[in-house]
């Protein structure tokens, strides 16, 4: 364990992700955050669990990415005084996670600068907490009024533009409060939580063997990444190694998911800058791509394709050639479209310098994933901690530094080409053998973690087994948590009409964050 000077008693977990787990006390908890920060680490997720039935405590967990892998710290918090030291002063990206943790579990972050509710609107009262085991999750409560105190910007000529939760297009719901002078954005404050579905609590109704179905619907556009992270977590706690063929097929699905999302977003980005040609052309390619996924994997988005123990269905041999050919033809076409993008001065005029996230800002806010790599944050789990089969594929990391819409577009093009190359390599190297194995019995209390680089960024699943192969606690984390606050900074100083373009260049998940 690379966290020096803390005397951590950490144990390394088996599984695809390089994870170590340590129980800490309050002072270690607070110091660990600083040590991670000083070592250029980042926070991946923060969540909690009600363990009062076991040892009269709640547990608060923080998962950090450091050089050697993922370190998960567990801080037991006495039930009588449910609070822990804030880490948001060290990692601002943790602030909303801390607020959500309080909404759901009633454990407070001491000393936090913002303690407003986050996920809770009016569906449950401020003194009830859905993740407590004595909370009746099936009782229907009256919707309470929700008076959320937005931060006000004052000054000559400043006015507010409230947008949402329902937006003008076919898009997820959320509220954006712009404070503007003329057309210029002074501040954007997002209010999310509209799509909160109680997923963390809902996992308790699932078995270890079926939880991937729920995890894969935290954010539908990342269903493969989420289901794979879940499968890794399940396999880790079961001490099970999935068959080689299965993980190669999973990688094929993950890269195809990446391609599908980039195709859709590149088209939409062109469209948001008034190049509707791009939308039609990219959506045509995406439709072809989804249809092929349906033919090869039985589902257009490959939902429920990754299962604990392997994959739901083996890939038929006669699918290899059409999948290979499609990767070639899509690459040929996209390269042609990229030339159109590059030569289109109107488009470049909108892209360049819009929604700029400097490297310093990205680092300070702990931005990773696609948006992070457009701002010089060179993290990609497929390269940094390559799990099978990425250890055999040698993924090329794509990093740009300008941090504007143009840079995020560039990252998408480059990652799209790299994903197509990976698709071809995987198809060429796909090993023979079983595609799925049976699951052994899950020891109650066993924990496992999964950590997968999805198209948007790093996806984490933490899983704890209960009695009778059921799930005691599961938390699935979408990278949108860290990126939403960055979007608020990215639009400062831009004009309101550029917001849709900037927003789309990130394309963050509401559902993934609202959980």
């Amino acid at each position: 364990m690379a966290l020096s000077g803390l005397n951590l008693d950490a144990r390394t977990l088996s599984g695809a992700a390089p994870v170590s787990l340590a129980r800490v006390d309050r002072s270690q908890w607070a110091r660990a955050a600083r040590v991670v920060r000083e070592g250029a680490g980042r926070i991946v997720a923060l969540w909690g669990s009600d363990n009062r039935d076991r040892n009269a405590t709640f547990s608060v967990y923080a998962a950090y990415a450091i050089r050697s892998g993922l370190v998960v710290l567990e801080l037991p918090v006495p039930a009588a005084a449910p609070a822990y030291p804030t880490i948001a002063e060290v990692f601002p990206g943790a602030l909303r996670m801390q607020r959500a943790l309080h909404d759901l579990l009633g454990v407070a972050a001491e000393g936090a600068s913002d303690r407003r509710q986050w996920l809770r609107h009016g569906a449950w009262r401020a003194d009830e907490f859905p993740l407590r085991r004595d909370f009746d999750a099936h009782a229907r409560r009256e919707n309470a009024p929700d008076n959320y105190p937005f931060v006000r910007v004052e000054g000559d000529g400043v006015h507010e533009i409230p947008v949402g939760p329902i937006h003008a297009g076919i898009i997820e719901p959320g509220h954006f409060r712009f404070s503007v002078v003329g057309e210029k954005v002074l501040r954007l404050e997002a209010r999310l939580g509209y799509t909160h579905k109680g997923i963390d609590r809902r996992f308790g109704d699932f078995e270890i063997a079926t939880g991937h179905r729920l995890a894969g619907r935290l954010s539908g556009d990342s269903t493969v990444a989420l289901a794979w992270a879940y499968a890794q977590a399940a396999e880790s706690l079961l001490g099970l190694e999935p068959p080689a063929r299965a993980v190669w097929i999973r990688a094929l699905m993950l890269e195809r998911e990446r391609v599908a999302n980039h195709l859709g977003d590149l088209g939409a980005l062109g469209n948001d800058a008034a190049l509707s040609f791009a939308l039609s052309q990219f959506m045509r390619l995406k439709e072809d791509w989804l249809r092929m996924s349906h033919t090869a994997f039985g589902h257009r988005f490959m939902m429920d394709g990754v299962v604990p123990g392997g994959v739901e269905a083996d890939l038929r041999d006669d699918m290899r050639e059409p999948l290979m050919r499609q990767a070639d033809s899509v690459e040929r076409e996209v390269r042609r479209f990229q030339d159109v993008f590059d030569e289109h001065s109107g488009l470049q005029d909108r892209f360049i310098t819009a929604g700029r996230v400097t490297q310093e800002l990205a680092r300070a806010l702990g931005l990773a994933g696609l948006a992070g790599r457009a701002s010089g944050q060179a993290f990609d789990l497929r390269c940094d901690f390559p799990w099978a089969p990425y250890d055999k594929l040698g993924v090329k990391k794509v990093v740009h530094t300008n941090g504007d819409v143009a840079a995020r577009v560039k990252v998408r093009f480059d990652e799209l080409y790299e994903a197509l190359r990976l698709v071809r390599e995987i198809l060429a190297g796909l090993p023979a053998g079983a595609a799925r194995v049976a699951l052994p019995y899950a020891a109650p209390g066993a924990m496992g973690f999964g950590w997968v680089e999805g198209w948007r960024g790093e996806t984490l699943v933490a899983l704890e087994a209960g009695e009778n192969n059921r799930i005691r606690r599961c938390h699935a984390h979408d990278p949108s948590w860290q990126a939403w606050p960055v979007l608020e900074h990215a639009v400062i100083g831009n004009i309101v009409p550029d917001f849709p373009l900037i927003n789309k260049s990130f394309n963050l998940s509401y559902s993934g964050e609202d959980c």
């Binding site: 009016g122 076919i170 729920l214 619907r217 040609f277 045509r284």
Partner: protein, 168 residues
């Protein structure tokens, strides 16, 4: 500009004949258009509301707007305002936090209005069920005309659901 024009020519018209996936879905586009005109005057305008979906259904509604399905050619269009809409297309299990907004949208629509619930979640809450956070389906909140099952339902099924609603 020349590469764009060349690409447009190269692509040609790719719109497919209206629903062709299954024989019982095969309806000539002229008939559909006539049906829409007969029932609604000129065209069908849809307002979509995500009431807590995982965003999978949104991907398929987007896909429905791609050139293959040519829905504008059928006279179907998605609108930004509920005041312009004949039909409300709802996805998601209806999260409790979207319940009020969904009702407001419905009330803002002029009569007569149709409601189509899209996806297994819209049907009965799907994988999310009914809980402290979700209502467990659109019909728990609004009168629903047609339910399109699937997780998510592919574009053709969504189109079929829309056509079923206007034909009823």
């Amino acid at each position: 500009m020349i590469p764009i024009i060349l690409q447009v020519l190269r692509t040609g018209i790719i719109s497919e004949p209206t629903p062709e996936a299954r024989e019982e879905w095969r309806v000539r586009s002229a008939q559909i258009q006539a049906e829409i005109v007969r029932l609604l005057g000129r065209a069908l305008v849809i307002r979509h509301v995500d009431a807590g979906s995982c965003n999978g259904c949104e991907l398929e509604i987007h896909a429905l707007n791609n050139p293959y399905y040519n829905i504008e050619g059928l006279g179907i269009r998605f609108a930004a305002s509920p005041r312009h809409a004949d039909m409300l297309l709802v996805t998601g299990p209806v999260s409790r936090h979207m319940e009020r907004a969904l009702r407001i949208v419905y009330e803002a629509m002029p009569d007569p209005k149709l409601v189509v619930a899209v996806g297994d979640c819209g049907r009965d809450g799907g994988v999310f069920g009914e809980s402290y956070a979700t209502c467990g389906g659109v019909s728990k909140v609004l009168p629903v005309d047609v339910v399109v099952p699937g997780c998510p339902p592919p574009p053709l099924d969504i189109l079929r659901g829309i056509l079923t609603a206007i034909a009823s």
